[in-house]
């Protein structure tokens, strides 16, 4: 019995040993033909994201990338992605294998393992380290950061496409944010949202994710049929969105620096804030160069939010490249909030009380290129538009002045004539000439105008003087009644004609004006009142001056009429009055007529003016 047991034991031992020999022999064989066949097979390991994986093989006790032949690489990657239900291949990371490496090809994929691979030696094999399948590819487009934007998915052939916003909610968006490592979804954007619409395909609609899926393709959704347009492209803002903004300034290019994270905006400790950081933020915001980034008075205070501290190197171009620290209260001891004014800001920022400090407010704009921390100045350069506006305003002013002077000149003359008219109510028209002469003579007596050229200007002066004095204006109005209107028109015509005659020569006009201005000063009328004169004429002057064939003298007369009205009227009214009749020369005459009527707002009839024009044209020559 014992012998039998002994024999049995010996036999089992032998068989064991044989078995061991056998296996060791196999092992030896394996190691001998190491180049031909690997000890283990490649495994497919999945990343935390469902649809990205890495092939790994154990080599010298280390898991490394798997070497495939160039042709087989794409094939196997595609196959595995498909098997995983992740669509095709989006991208794979690989390095070139050294030539004459042993490469795998023609494997059979079964449950995360590649089996029965052939080993061949090739020159241009590829060592694949990671593969991302189609469904895992997602991006947020057209946001200022990778963690915000329009959701886009990828598909072979059609490339990037969008997602429709029907049923698009935070749970769906959470999936995207998690995929991108951007935290969780803060808000979703739908139609009319912050992100512009996409184009090409729309891949998914009516998503109904739980929020735990690895990618959007794993959510229940409508794939093929959708009723969406690109207006309804879905977007999302994730919590890890890195955003910076400037608040409290006059525009988005100036203010306190605020950093967004997790849905709230924190401030930056000014201890870490310098030229480099300021330049980064200004360029990130598209606001040009930093104009001022230190020494704000009064200084800015921190919010209740996170305190940010940045360690930036001069090589950094973007704030997010810097080392970022949150809530380092010790470092931020008695620091203020960093703020910034970029050159793109158009306005003043904060009142500066320190005299020596850079005062953005009080100085006139200086050239931006010379601006530095210590430079005072307004943070914008003179744009072309501004220069254009200034030059136009200047021209307008000049025209106004010219017009008013002429206006006053005419008015004075007319005023005298009006007074004459009033005195001789029934004077027949044929005596007009005489009257004119008389009035002229009177004028000559009353004023000291040496030359004939100046004679017409005298009544003007008187007119101006009386026009300045509102009481005299009123009396003028009272004296006249409507019945004499036509007569008055005639006289004014003649006046104008004569005046026109004399002053057709622009040179003469100039001299008349010159003398005018000199004599104006001699009157009691203040300069402001004569300016009032000018203001009124401004609009119409331009219109009239620019219109063709216009007798340049006509407008001043009209405007004088307006000016005459001015002292007793609301300037607004007068302006509207101007506008009402600023259509052409005819309008001016009508206003002139209104001069003599108590109702200055009487609407003008074009007919009168046409008559006047005709009269003028037909009777160009009339001497004084």
């Amino acid at each position: 019995m014992n012998l039998v047991k002994l024999i049995l034991i010996l036999q089992t031992l032998q068989s064991c040993q044989a078995y061991k020999d056998d296996s060791s022999q196999t092992g030896k064989r394996a190691s001998q033909s190491d180049l031909d066949k690997n000890q283990t097979e490649p495994y497919i390991t999945q990343q935390s994201n469902a649809c990205s994986w890495s092939p790994r093989i154990l080599r010298a006790e280390k898991w490394t990338s798997v070497t495939f032949t160039a042709e087989y690489r794409d094939q196997v990657a595609n196959q595995i992605c498909m098997e995983l239900g992740c669509g095709g291949v989006y991208s794979l990371s690989e390095t070139s294998a050294p030539p004459d490496s042993t490469c795998l090809t023609n494997c059979t994929y079964h449950e995360y393992r590649l089996q029965n691979c052939s080993h061949v030696v090739r020159i241009n094999c590829s060592m694949v380290s990671d593969v991302v399948c189609e469904h895992q590819a997602v991006r947020l487009a057209e946001g200022e950061h990778r963690c915000a934007g329009r959701v886009e998915l990828w598909r072979e052939g059609q490339q990037w496409g969008t997602v429709c916003d029907d049923e698009w909610d935070l749970r769906d968006a959470d999936v995207v944010c998690a995929q991108l490592g951007c935290g969780y979804a803060l808000s979703v954007t739908k139609q009319g949202g912050a992100f512009p619409q996409g184009k090409d395909s729309i891949y998914l609609d009516e998503l109904n994710c739980t929020g735990k899926e690895g990618n959007l393709w794993q959510c229940p959704a409508s794939r093929e049929k959708h009723d969406c347009g690109h207006k309804e492209d879905a977007g999302v803002v994730c919590s890890e969105l890195k955003a910076v903004r400037l608040t409290g300034g006059v525009d988005r290019c100036s203010g306190k620096v605020e950093i967004h994270r997790n849905g709230s905006w924190g401030t930056v400790c000014d201890v870490c804030w310098g030229m480099d950081e300021a330049a980064m933020v200004c360029s990130m915001l598209g606001c040009g160069e930093p104009f001022r980034y230190v020494a704000f008075n009064p200084p800015f205070t921190h919010n209740d939010g996170t305190l940010w501290y940045y360690k930036c190197k001069s090589s950094h171009t973007n704030l997010w490249q810097c080392e970022e620290f949150a809530n380092k209260t010790l470092w931020c001891t008695d620091s203020k909030a960093a703020a910034l004014i970029c050159s793109g800001s158009h306005g003043r920022y904060i009142p500066v009380t320190t005299e020596a400090a850079t005062t953005v407010l009080s100085r006139t704009p200086g050239p931006v290129t010379t601006a530095s921390v210590s430079n005072d100045g307004f943070p914008f350069s003179m744009s072309l538009e501004l220069l254009g506006c200034i030059s136009l305003s200047f021209l307008l002013l000049m025209a106004l002045v010219t017009n008013a002077l002429l206006c006053c000149h005419y008015r004075r003359r007319d005023a005298v004539l009006v007074q004459q008219r009033h005195a001789k109510l029934q004077t027949p028209t044929e005596h007009h000439d005489k009257d004119y002469r008389d009035s002229v003579n009177l004028i000559k007596v009353t004023t000291s105008s040496p030359t004939e050229n100046d004679v017409p200007s005298n009544p003007r002066y008187q007119w101006t003087q009386s026009s300045v004095d509102s009481t005299s204006v009123d009396t003028d109005y009272e004296q006249w009644d409507l019945s004499t209107e036509t007569a008055v028109h005639m006289t004014t015509f003649q006046n104008s004609i004569r005046y026109k005659q004399d002053t057709r020569n622009p040179f003469m006009r100039a001299t008349a004006l010159d003398s005018l201005s000199e004599e104006v000063d001699s009157f009691d009328s203040s300069s402001t009142s004569s300016e009032e004169c000018y203001e009124n004429t401004g609009k119409d002057v331009e219109n009239l001056v620019t219109s063709e064939g216009m007798d340049p003298w006509q407008p001043p007369v009209t405007h004088n009429a307006n000016n005459h009205l001015m002292p007793s009227r609301n300037p607004d009214q007068t302006h509207s009055h101007d506008q009402g009749v600023s259509d052409g020369k005819s309008g001016d005459y009508e206003e002139e007529g209104h001069l003599y009527s108590p109702d200055p707002n009487q609407s003008s009839s074009e007919g009168d003016y046409d008559d006047i024009a005709n009269y003028l044209d037909s009777n160009p020559e009339q001497g004084y």
Partner: protein, 257 residues
């Protein structure tokens, strides 16, 4: 507040070189403040923590100062990972301050407005230290000059010999009169000294003047009068002056006048 060590209070003057700063330990009840004396018109070096080496885990060094209204203002911040310091001052210090390699604050063109407390704040690891320094700015006076010299002194008559002026000093210089190297002490009768100090409000510098009224005696013929301006930085001596002493003779001198 607190005690002042005797060494600071009255510094002996004569041969101290001009260029060094003077350190004093001012023991207060609550903390020790270092006092630094800078020279007017020169660059004032304000040391940080007495020039101790910077810690390894330094984050940044910040200099701040007490402004005229008593509040703190920032001057500059030097971050450890950056080459250049960032100037934070917005007033007159903007163009005058810089930081040395050993974290000392350098103030150019020192004047009396810089007489205030500057604090060096060092943040390293999880620590924050502050080292305040009181700064004084001294200026030695211009060489004293005797003005309004008497034309002549009359024997036994109290006359104004002259006015000695030591201008633009901080602190104000003390003027002493010497005759033939011997200090003249006012006794109210034969020697009367009237000092006065006037401060220029724009610079803060003080000008000391001292008038000497002296009763000459016969033996004072040819005596050399000098005035010295005593200052902690340096004591300066004026050029010696001699005066004609006019003697009143009771009897005509031999040989006629």
């Amino acid at each position: 507040m607190g005690l002042r060590s005797g060494l600071c209070a009255d510094q002996s003057s004569s041969s101290t070189p001009i260029s060094t700063n003077h350190f004093c330990m001012d023991l207060t009840l609550f903390r020790s403040t270092v006092t630094v004396i800078g020279l007017y018109g020169e660059t004032i070096e304000v040391p940080c923590n007495n020039g101790t080496a910077k810690p390894d885990d330094l984050i940044f060094t910040k200099w701040k100062y007490v402004m005229d209204d008593g509040t703190n203002g920032d001057l500059l911040v030097k971050q450890a990972h950056k080459e250049e310091a960032q100037i934070k001052a917005m007033d007159g210090y903007k163009d005058r301050v810089s930081i040395a390699a050993n974290s000392s604050l350098m103030i150019q063109r020192g004047s009396l407005v810089d007489q205030r407390t500057f604090t060096c704040m060092v943040v390293y690891g999880s620590n924050l230290d502050e080292h305040p320094v009181d700064v004084l700015v001294h200026k030695k006076p211009l060489p004293p000059q005797i003005k309004d010299k008497a034309k002549e002194l009359e024997n036994s008559k109290l006359t104004s010999l002259g006015v000695c002026m030591a201008a633009d000093a901080n602190p104000a210089a003390v003027i002493m009169w010497f005759k033939n190297g011997k200090l003249l002490v006012a006794d109210g009768k034969t020697i009367i000294i009237t000092p006065s100090v006037k401060m220029d409000p724009s610079t803060g510098l003080s000008t000391t003047t001292s008038g000497l009224q002296y009763t000459a005696v016969k033996s004072d013929v040819g005596a050399k009068f000098t005035c010295t301006a005593k200052h902690n930085l340096e004591t300066l001596v004026s050029a010696p002056e001699t005066f004609i002493i006019h003697c009143e003779w009771t009897t005509p001198p031999p040989g006629g006048l």
